[in-house]
Amino acid sequence: MLTELTDEQLVELAVSEDREAFGEIVRRWERKIFALCFGMLGREDDARDAAQEAFIAAYRNLANFRGEARVSSWLHRIAVNQCLTIKRRAKTRSEEFLDDDDGSEERVFIAPLQNSPARKAEEFERLKLVRSAVGSLPTDLRQVIVMKEFEEMTFQEISDTLEIPLSTVKSRVYTALKQLRMKLERVPLEIA
């Protein structure tokens, strides 16, 4: 059955106009690609559009797929390119984007009461700050942190997907965490 085939075998079938084979590829990767797009863009609607356009672009370029690369690498590369395209488009339209937040807002986090409106408001602000911090990372750092946290891939899988050394993956994650820490650094209450 199709579920027993590898991604590369499915692509070969899809190139020979087997629609079900490409459908199996979509079923395998749609959640991860959607997660990647969500982490890269920070918005649900943009992530949906990017994931959809990524699969359409993959289908249209099936004939150009060379077996040298992994299907996962190929799909991730297409999805990241779609995310960057959508992000550029959004910036052109001058829409409010997660990058537009300059992080100048107050960064004080007060221990809230459970399930209180203040608690929810603080959660909302904290998530907004996290989105802004992740969105302001360089693309290569953001990609590895999103693949790690949203797609829940191991370092080795990220290394295989991006076709970069394992140590490079760890180094990028380390750098990304360091930058996130700086952006999310708490400001002492007495100073605020």
């Binding site: 629609r19 459908g23 749609e30 699969f55 904290r126 911090a133 942190i145 820490r181």
Partner: protein
Amino acid sequence: MLDKFHNSNSEHGLDLVAYIYGEMDETARARFESHLAGCDVCAVELGSYADARLGVIEWRRNDFEPLSTPAMIIPDSQPAATLVGGRPRRSWMAWIETVYALPGLARVGMGLAAAAILLGVFYFVFVPDNAPSSVENITGKTAAPAEQQKPVASPSSDQPDRVETAKKSEFEPGAVATSIHRTAVARSNAKAQTAALHQTPAIRNYRKIGPLEAVTPKTQPAPTLNTFEEEEDTTLRLSDLFSQVGPKKK
């Protein structure tokens, strides 16, 4: 001192993230934990990185995990090359079927238009060239019957108005000699005009002759060229030409 050691050691950061994400083997993890027990800097750093990571996890759990995976629309079953290449070509039968699918009035109109085009093509291809043209009827000129316009001689192809038609009177005694004489004069006129166009010094002498310049194609109506006897004979004769060009007789 410990900070400098940690920052200069590239393995430290890699071990730290491997430990945070739980991707360290048992031996390496035990060694790293023993180091953490005595290193406050590493402990603080680990705590801050873990906090940053928890923020991302919280974001994922609150915003992403409740979302359902969107239904991806797989392109139609057409192959990729067709989707990229554009519309497929239609066959003739498809066009004919399209025409038959039109409303009745549109079909009648298209049929009449096609018939008009065919009639026009038939007219221009099969109607003979010597048929009376509508241009002659508009200008009021009546074309002479074909049997009355038998061309006898054509002095030159660029002077169609000089076509002489034979009449019964020209077959009388002496008429043939007169016709030959006139033909020779017409040829000499044509040569003189051609030479004048080239403007060679020798030809300029011929331009001094008055009757040669007076003869122009526009002055002689084509249908009435056969009335030489009624007009004043102003043409140049060979004898006149020889009397001016050749040696003078004493």
